[in-house]
Symmetry: C2
Subunit: 149 residues, 2 copies
DNA sequence: AACAATTTAATTGTACGCAATATGATTGCT
DNA sequence: AGCAATCATATTGCGTACAATTAAATTGTT
C-alpha cells in the first residue's frame, strides 16, 4: 500500500459482503415459512407494517421500509390480486393511495405468529444476543443513511 | 399470545429487517464510488473475487458469492461487454467457462483501492468495531446456511 | 465401448430495487 | 382567481436474485 490508499479490497474482509450474504441467508430461511403463507419476503415486510397500522399511504410504507413507489406499486398490486389488501385513493387527498387489509389480510397475521420464533431458532442464538446484534446494525444503518441521504 | 406461539411480528423487532435495510444502506453508500468505476455492487463483488484469483470458473465464483448461474451468466456477459473480463470455455473441461480479467479489468483494481477506506469512514466506526460486527454476522450467516442448505 | 448419472452453464419466468420520468392533485404566492 | 412549485403515485428501463428447466460435456459402471 505504497500509495497510502490501502490494500486491494478483499472479499472476505468486507463488512458489506457479510451483511449482504447474511441478508440472502436470512431470506432463504424465511422462504419456506413465507411460501406457506403465499408471501415473498418483501410482501411480508409490507404486511407487517399494515398489521401494526392499517390504512397507511404508499409513501408512509415506503418511509418505514426504505422503498420507493417503483418497488411498492407493483408489489401492492400483487398483494391486491392475492386478496390481502385493497388500494383506495384517499378522498381527502386524491394524490394518496391508502392500503387497507382485507379480512384475509387480517387473518394472515395469526398464521404468521410463529415466524419470529422459528427464525430465532434458526439463528441458534438467544433473544438477547439477537437483540444486541439488531441494535448494532440499526445504529450502523442510521449512520450510513445520515452519511449519504 | 394466548396460543403460545408468540406475539404478532413487529417490523422494528426483526433482526432480519435490520440486516436487510443495512444492506440497502451500504449499497447506497457504495453506489457513487462504484458508478465512478462503471460497476454495480454485484459486479464489484465479482471483480473482487477475480482480483484475488483470476481465471475462476462460473461455478467457483457462485460458491464464493452464494450466487447461481441465473444471476452470474448475464452479469458476466455485461462485464465482458464492458471490457473488464473475457469468458472462455476451459479446453480441458468444456462444461466450464473460465473468467479472466482483461488488462482493463486488472487496472481497475488500483482505482478501487480507496473504496474500503471510504466505506470505513462512512460507517463512523473503528476498523476493530467493524471487524467484530463482520465476524458476528459471518457466524450468523454460516449458522443460517447450515440450518437450511 | 455403451449408456446412465452427474456436472456446468445457459435460458426462461417471476419478483424485487432503484433511477428517471410522467401524470394528476394540492399548495403557496401574488 | 391564476399559476408556479410541490407532492404522491405510476410507469419505464436496467440489473440483480432465484427457481425450474434445458443442453452439452464428463464421469462412473458394467
Amino acid at each position: 500500500m505504497a500509495d497510502g490508499t490501502g490494500p486491494v479490497p478483499k472479499l472476505a474482509d468486507q463488512l458489506c459482503f457479510a451483511v449482504y450474504s447474511t441478508t440472502h441467508a436470512l431470506i432463504r430461511v424465511y422462504k419456506p415459512l413465507l411460501t406457506a403463507l403465499g408471501l415473498t419476503y418483501s410482501q411480508y415486510l409490507v404486511m407487517m407494517t399494515l398489521w401494526q397500522e392499517d390504512g397507511l399511504a404508499v409513501k408512509q410504507i415506503g418511509e418505514l421500509l426504505h422503498l420507493d413507489s417503483g418497488t411498492l406499486t407493483p408489489l401492492l398490486k400483487r398483494l391486491e390480486a392475492a386478496g390481502q389488501v385493497r388500494r383506495e385513493r384517499d378522498p381527502t387527498d386524491e394524490r394518496q393511495v391508502r392500503i387497507r387489509l382485507t379480512a384475509t389480510g387480517h387473518a394472515l397475521r395469526d398464521k404468521a405468529r410463529s415466524i419470529p420464533q422459528d427464525m430465532l431458532c434458526a439463528s441458534g442464538r438467544s433473544a438477547d444476543e439477537v437483540r444486541r446484534l439488531k441494535e448494532d446494525l440499526v445504529r450502523l444503518r442510521d449512520q450510513l443513511n445520515s452519511a449519504v441521504p
